[in-house]
C-alpha cells in the first residue's frame, strides 16, 4: 500500500478546536436550547416488566394548570421507531414490555408541572407473565413479546435467522470441519462465561427539543448520527425526509449510546399537539432505567487442541439478552456489530460460531463501545488462558503459538495480511523479560483483541476558500468529544501547507451540510478525515487550475510556488468551493494486548492493579493528544466494566437507578498505565491513519481475571470482578493462596 506521509507538523500536540467553547460553557448542547414558548415533557411508564394496558385515564393530568397536552398510546398508534427494525412503539398502546416502557406523555410549562402531571396519569394494568432471561423467553409456551414481528418495518435489516418466538436474531458462521477437528483433538476445553448488563455512563443524559415551523419539523438532539435520525424519523412518522431538519452540534459522551433516540418521537407528537417547541432532558434515573443499554450475555466456548498445543477446532455460542425492543440496534443483523468475532487474533482451522439475541421483558439494548467485542473478549481471553493453564503451558507462549500471522485464517475466515499481533505479543514478552520476577502474591495476565479501523460509510464535506485565504469546512459530522473536527482541520491545513488557524471547521445541520452517516463504528478519522484529505486535494487542484489560467491570461510568468500564492490569485473573483467525498469499506484492523499485574488480598478478595502495559498497533497519528486520550479512556472505561459496573435487574426492574449505586471509576481509582504504540504498518485512512476509539476497552477484563488466576489460583467466570466474586472463587477453589 502506498501511503502519503503527512508533514512532521502533525506530530505536534493538537489544539482542540472545540476546546475553548467547551471549557467556557459556550458550546451549545441539546440540553442548553431555550426557545420562546418552549414546553417540557415528562412520561408515564410501566411499573411492570410485562403488562396489558387496560385503560389510561388522563383527566387529572389534563386538568393540572400549566399542562398543554397529554398523549397516550392511542394518539401515536401505529407508529413504531427503530434504527433497523421498527419495533419500539412511540408510546405503548396495548402492552408494556419492560419496567420503564412509556405509555403516556405530557407537555407542560415547567419540568416540575410536567412531572406532576405524569404522576397523575392513571393507568389500569393487567400484569402478564414476564420472561426475563433468554432461556425463559425461548422455553416452549413462553409469552411472545412481538407476535407481529413479521409485519414490522425494516430498514435494510433482516430477521431471517430468527425462526423461533422471541428469537430476535440468529447468525452462524463455520469453516473447515469443526466436528472432525474436535474428534482429532488431544484435549477439549469447555467453559461458560457471564457478562452483565451495563450502561454507557456518558456525562450528558439524552436531551432533545422538537418544534414545527409550518411543515418543517425541527429537531435539536444529542443523537450522534443526525442524518440517520432524520431518515428514521421520516420512516417512523410517515413524513417526508425533506421536511425534517436535525441538528446535533455536540454530543456529551456517546460510547455507542447516543445513536438511539427515544424521546424525539414523543416530542414530535407533543409539539404537533401543542404548536410549541417541546423539550426533554432525561434524568440519570431514566437513563439507567429505560434507554438502550449493553446486552448481558452468556457465552459458551469449546476448543480442541492438538498434542503440540495448536488449536484444531473451536465452537462459540453467544447468547445475548436483548431486552424488550431491537430499535436501538444499528446493524442489519440486529446483533451487536462484532457479535460473532469471538476467539479473535488466532489461527483456527475448523470453527463454528453462533450468536443469538433474544427478546426479554427487560430494558432494551443497543450498541456499546466495540459492540460484541466488549462482551466476547472476556470469554475468549479467559478461555485461552484456561486452556494454556490446563495444558501446563505459559499463557503468553500459548498465544504466540496460536497467533494469527500473515496468511493465517482467523475465527471468521479472514486471511491475515500482517504479523502485527505477533509483534504485540513479542513486545509484551520483552517487557516481561526486562522486569523483576514477580514477588509472592503477585500475578500477571494478558488480554488481547482487535478492532477494525472504521465501519463502511460515505460522507461529503464542503470546503470554501475565501478571499482572506482561509478555508471553511462544513461537515454534518457531530463533534461527540473525540476530536474529529480537529482531525479535519489538521488534515486540510497540512495538505494545503497553511497554518492550522486558516482552516475553520463548522458543523452544519441536515438542511445545510452534505450527508454524513454519523460518528459511529470508529468512522471519524478514516471516513471524515478521508473526505477532508480528498477535499483538500480537490481544492488545491481547482485553485492551481484557476490561478494558472488567470496568470496565462494576464501574461504573468513567475511560478505559483505555493498554495498560498495561488489562493490569492484564484480568489480574486470570489470564493472557491469544492466537495470532498469519501467512501470506506472494512479493510483494515489494529490489534492490542494488555499485560496486567495484580496483587490479591486473599482474605477479602480485593484486587489491586499495580501495573498495566497496553501495547497497540497504530497507523499514522493525527491528533497525538486525543490518540493517547482515547487509549487511556478506553482503559478506564474497560476498567469500570471489569471491576464494578453492573446494571442490576431485580425481577426485571433496574435497581441501580443512580450513579451512587451504579458506580463508575473516578480518577482516584485509576492505576498506572504504560502505553507502547507499534506504528510500523500504516492504516488505510488518510495519511495512513486509522481509528483508535473502540480498540482497547474490551481486553482489560480478561487480563485482570487472568492475572488474578496467576496470583492466587482463583478463576472468576463473570464480570464484574468484584472483591466478593474473587473471595468466593478463592473459597470455592479451596486451595491455599500464594498470597502472604
Amino acid at each position: 500500500m502506498k501511503i502519503e506521509r503527512p508533514s512532521s507538523r502533525l506530530r505536534d500536540p493538537e489544539l482542540r478546536i472545540d476546546g475553548s467553547q467547551k471549557v467556557t460553557g459556550r458550546a451549545r448542547y441539546a440540553g442548553d436550547v431555550q426557545l420562546d414558548g418552549m414546553l417540557y415533557a415528562a412520561t408515564a411508564w410501566s411499573p411492570y416488566p410485562h403488562a396489558k394496558i387496560v385503560r389510561v385515564n388522563t383527566t387529572a393530568a389534563r386538568q393540572l394548570p400549566g399542562v398543554h397536552a397529554v398523549i397516550t398510546g392511542a394518539d401515536v398508534r401505529p407508529h413504531r421507531f427503530g434504527r433497523r427494525l421498527l419495533d419500539w412503539p412511540v408510546l405503548a398502546w396495548d402492552r408494556a414490555l419492560f419496567v420503564g416502557d412509556r405509555v403516556a406523555a405530557v407537555a407542560a410549562e415547567t419540568p416540575r408541572i410536567a412531572e406532576a402531571a405524569a404522576g397523575l396519569i392513571d393507568v389500569q394494568w393487567d400484569e402478564l407473565p414476564a420472561v426475563l432471561t433468554p432461556e425463559e423467553a425461548l422455553a416452549p409456551g413462553a409469552p411472545v413479546l412481538h407476535p407481529d414481528l413479521a409485519n414490522y418495518t425494516r430498514i435494510r435489516a433482516s430477521t431471517d435467522g430468527a425462526d423461533r418466538p422471541n428469537l430476535r436474531a440468529h447468525q452462524a458462521y463455520r469453516h473447515g470441519d469443526p466436528e472432525a477437528g474436535f474428534a482429532a483433538s488431544a484435549q477439549i476445553f469447555t467453559h461458560e462465561f457471564v457478562i452483565p448488563r451495563v450502561h454507557h455512563g456518558y456525562i450528558e443524559p439524552h436531551a432533545a427539543v422538537v418544534w414545527l415551523d409550518g411543515e418543517t419539523v425541527h429537531v435539536v438532539s444529542c443523537n450522534k448520527a443526525p442524518f440517520e435520525l432524520r431518515e428514521r424519523m421520516a420512516v417512523a412518522l410517515g413524513i417526508p425526509l425533506e421536511s425534517i431538519v436535525v441538528e446535533a452540534p455536540f454530543v456529551g459522551g456517546d460510547f455507542g449510546g447516543k445513536g438511539t433516540s427515544i424521546d424525539e418521537y414523543i416530542l414530535y407528537f407533543l409539539a404537533r399537539a401543542t404548536g410549541r417547541p417541546v423539550k426533554h432532558v432525561m434524568s440519570y434515573t431514566e437513563e439507567l432505567r429505560a434507554t438502550s443499554t449493553r446486552s448481558d450475555a452468556r457465552i459458551l466456548m469449546r476448543t480442541g487442541v492438538a498434542e503440540d498445543g495448536r488449536i484444531l477446532a473451536h465452537r462459540s455460542e453467544v447468547l445475548y439478552n436483548a431486552g424488550a425492543y431491537a430499535g436501538g440496534m444499528p446493524v442489519p443483523t440486529l446483533l451487536p456489530g462484532d457479535a460473532m468475532l469471538t476467539l479473535t487474533c488466532y489461527a483456527i482451522p475448523n470453527v463454528k460460531v453462533e450468536a443469538r439475541a433474544v427478546y426479554t421483558n427487560t430494558v432494551p439494548t443497543g450498541h456499546f463501545r466495540a459492540p460484541g467485542l466488549a462482551q466476547n473478549a472476556f470469554a475468549a481471553e479467559s478461555h485461552v488462558d484456561l486452556i494454556a493453564r490446563g495444558l501446563g503451558v505459559d499463557p503468553l507462549e500459548f498465544r504466540l503459538k496460536n497467533a494469527a500471522r500473515s496468511g493465517s485464517i482467523d475465527v471468521l475466515g479472514e486471511t491475515w495480511r500482517s504479523d502485527k499481533f505477533v509483534r504485540v505479543l513479542e513486545t509484551i514478552a520483552r517487557d516481561r523479560a526486562g522486569r523483576k520476577p514477580l514477588s509472592g502474591g503477585h500475578g500477571r495476565g494478558v488480554g488481547v483483541g482487535m478492532r477494525h479501523v472504521g465501519a463502511p460509510g460515505s460522507t461529503s464535506l464542503k470546503l470554501t476558500l475565501g478571499r482572506d485565504r482561509t478555508v471553511d469546512v462544513l461537515t454534518g459530522a457531530s463533534e461527540q468529544g473525540t476530536g474529529v473536527h480537529t482531525v479535519v482541520q489538521r488534515i486540510v491545513a497540512d495538505e494545503l501547507g497553511i497554518p492550522w488557524s486558516r482552516v475553520r471547521v463548522r458543523y452544519g445541520d441536515t438542511a445545510e451540510a452534505l450527508f454524513d452517516p454519523g460518528v459511529g463504528g470508529s468512522r471519524g478519522t478514516p471516513l471524515v478525515g478521508g473526505a477532508a484529505l480528498r477535499g483538500a486535494k480537490a481544492l488545491r487542484e481547482k485553485v492551481m487550475l484557476i490561478a494558472s489560467s488567470g496568470r496565462r491570461e494576464g501574461g504573468g510568468s513567475e511560478d505559483l510556488a505555493t498554495f498560498d500564492d495561488a489562493a490569492a490569485e484564484a480568489t480574486r473573483d470570489g470564493p472557491i468551493e469544492v466537495v470532498g467525498e469519501h467512501r470506506t469499506e472494512f479493510d483494515d484492523a489494529n490489534v492490542y494486548a494488555y499485560d496486567v499485574e495484580v496483587t490479591v488480598d486473599s482474605e477479602t478478595g480485593r484486587v489491586n492493579i499495580v501495573d498495566v502495559l497496553l501495547v497497540v498497533t497504530t497507523g499514522t497519528i493525527l491528533n497525538p493528544v486525543a490518540h493517547r486520550g482515547q487509549l487511556e479512556g478506553a482503559f478506564v472505561f474497560g476498567l469500570g466494566s471489569t471491576l464494578m459496573e453492573k446494571l442490576e435487574l431485580d425481577e426485571g426492574r433496574v435497581s441501580t437507578l443512580t450513579l451512587g449505586d451504579y458506580k463508575l471509576p473516578t480518577i482516584a481509582d485509576v492505576p498506572p498505565l504504560r502505553i507502547v504504540r507499534l506504528d510500523r504498518e500504516p492504516n488505510s485512512g488518510p495519511f495512513g491513519a486509522g481509528s483508535v476509539g473502540e480498540l482497547a476497552n474490551p481486553g482489560i477484563g480478561p487480563a485482570v481475571a487472568n492475572a488474578i488466576a496467576d496470583a492466587v489460583g482463583a478463576r472468576v467466570m463473570a464480570l464484574p470482578i468484584t472483591s466478593e466474586s474473587v473471595w468466593r472463587a478463592l473459597r470455592d477453589a479451596g486451595r491455599p493462596s500464594k498470597a502472604t
Binding site: T604, M644, K663, T666, A668, T722, S723, E724
Partner: protein
Amino acid sequence: MSAFEWHVPATIADALELADRYKDDAQFVAGGTAVVLLFKSGLVQRGHAISLHRIEALRGINLEGEGGLRIGSLTTHREIERSQIVRAHSLLLATACANVATVRIRNQATIGGNLAHADPAQDPAPALIALGARLIVTGLEGTRTVAAEDLFTDLFETTLSPSELIVEVRIPQAPVTSRSIYLKFLPRTEDDYATVSVAAAATGDVAEDLRVRIGLGAVGSTPIRARAAEDVVNGHSFSEDLIATAADAAAAATDPIEDGRGSAEYKREMARVFTTRALRAVAHNS
C-alpha cells in the same frame, strides 16, 4: 421535588421553635448533602425546611482541658479533618472524617447532619463510638446527653424527636497511651460508602490489661458498638487467639443487608477480617 418553605433561623431557640410549630412537616437542614437528595427524589416530603447554617452557636472546635474536645454540630467534615486540635486530640475522628465521600462533599456536609441522617455506612459514627463520644442534644423540653452508640435506632432513624437538635459532639480526653485506627473497606471506588468499616481505640498494657472500644459501620441497620468483642479483649493480654475470638464476636454482632457492596455473608466475614486487622493494629505494639 415538591415545593417547601425555606426558613433561616439565627438562633437555636428560633430553630427549635420553628420545628415545634411545623412538627412532622418540618425538616432541619445542615450541610444538605444528604437531605437535599432525599427532597429531590421525593423520599422525604416536607412543607418546611429549617436551615441551620446561620446559627453561629453550632460552630467551632474547642479543647476544654479535662473536659475533652467539643465540636459544634455544624462543623464540616473538612474542618474536622484539617483541624490541628482534632488531629492532636482524636486523630481517629479526623481520619474517619477524611474518609467521607469526596472533598466537595466534606466541604459542605456537617458532623451533626451526618449523625442525624443516621446512614449506617457513614464513617464518623464508628470512630465516635470507639472514642466514647457523647452528643449534646437540645430541644424545647431541655438538653440531654446521648452516647454515640445510643443515638441510632434503625436505618436512618435516631432517638432524636423531630424538634430536637444535636448541638455538640464531646470527646473525652484519651489517656496518653491510647492507640486507634479506622479501617474502611472500599473494594469498588474511592468515593464509595464502606462495605464495612471498623474503628478501634485501645489503651492499657498489651501484656497485661488491654482496654478496647470498637465501632462498626455498614454492618446492619445502624452503626454498632461491638461490646461482646470488647469484653473478650478487655482485661487480657494480647494474643492472636484472643483477637480471633474477639473478631468472631464482632462478626456475630452484625446483621448486614445485601446491596451493591456485597452479600450479607460477605459483609459479616469482612467485619471479622477488618476487626482482626484493627485489633492487631491497636492491641499489638504500643
